[in-house]
Symmetry: C2
């Protein structure tokens, strides 16, 4: 249990350091200090900065997985447009919260190389939610609730892509309009027959 506590403290410290200083400023020295442990102990829990940042992404961010699970639970019942709209709003929130970490990775060529290799090995990556959403859209098509003529992968790529883009753009500019209404229009545009 004591070991669990340290691991959690290190992840917390990493998350806070990234938000304050950006990923470049979130050094293992600074993270260890903040977590109240030595750098040696940090490296006992996380073999590299990449594995630590992956843990931050997977364990501290409001993941898309629960939102996808919710959609799956409601497949074939209720209001599919309303459910997809709520999912899109969650996706914008998710991408907004991961942006500081993800952009920090992208901005650091050496960190990115390690992260890319790790994702390939785990067969993980940011494309998986797109495929999961496409699968859900196909289920709704089979149930006759979405036009069978819609290309599910293309629709999922565009809906999640727009959410990701909106989250990124909002770092640069104040976007007009409310995210919920924006998402509603997107979903209506995709589902129109």
């Amino acid at each position: 249990m004591a070991a669990m506590g340290t691991r959690e403290r290190i992840i917390d410290a990493a998350e806070q350091s990234i938000h304050e200083h950006g990923i470049a400023g979130a050094t293992t020295k600074r993270i260890a200090q903040r977590a109240g442990c030595s750098e040696a102990l940090l490296y006992k829990h996380f073999s590299s900065k990449e594995t630590l940042f992956l843990a931050v992404l997977l364990e501290r961010m409001p993941a898309l997985a629960p939102a996808l699970a919710l959609l799956r639970d409601r497949a074939g019942q209720g209001d599919v447009a309303a459910d997809l709209t709520a999912f899109a709003v969650t996706a914008v929130d998710f991408y907004t919260s991961v942006a500081p970490v993800a952009s920090g990775m992208m901005a650091d060529p050496s960190l990115m190389a390690g992260f890319r290799a790790m994702l390939a090995e785990r067969r993980s990556g940011p494309h998986l939610p797109v495929l999961a959403l496409a699968e859900l859209l196909r289920d709704e098509q089979r149930a006759g609730r979405i036009d069978a003529g819609l290309d599910a992968v293309a629709a999922a790529s565009m809906l999640l892509g727009a959410c990701f883009h909106r989250a990124s753009m909002s770092s640069f500019v104040d976007l007009p309009g409310e995210t919920g209404e924006w998402a509603e229009t997107l979903v209506a545009t995709l589902l129109r027959r």
Copy 2:
């Protein structure tokens, strides 16, 4: 002309430094050294690191503006789906090339604050291509070449959003499929009646 030469050399040096070291490692000291000038001279041409990086974004990246102008020239004639597909492929290339700079900005909270203020003052930002594309789609709707029932802003948000997302995801994983075919499916999905 000599002054012009220095300015261009500094922008080149900044671009190369960002690609090699990431934005955090692209210090003005390193950029000035690479450009063969003093940091004082660099600051004579660019009042801040933000203005220098904005110049890199605006003057060195394959901008979306010419691709939008091409679409505008061809409005009302030719194959609208093929033209939008070609535009989407250019957009993926554009977002791929700006990713190192844009993500570097997003990853650096203090740099981002300055950049955000500068964009607001210039009324510029990454949302402008979305609005320009929407305007073009509306022109095609008026010409009867695209379903008038399509929401132009939603369609533009989804097409460019998917392109931006694809460019970002390709930093993390090898995406299956060829970008041209991928774009063709997206455009067909948007334009289906």
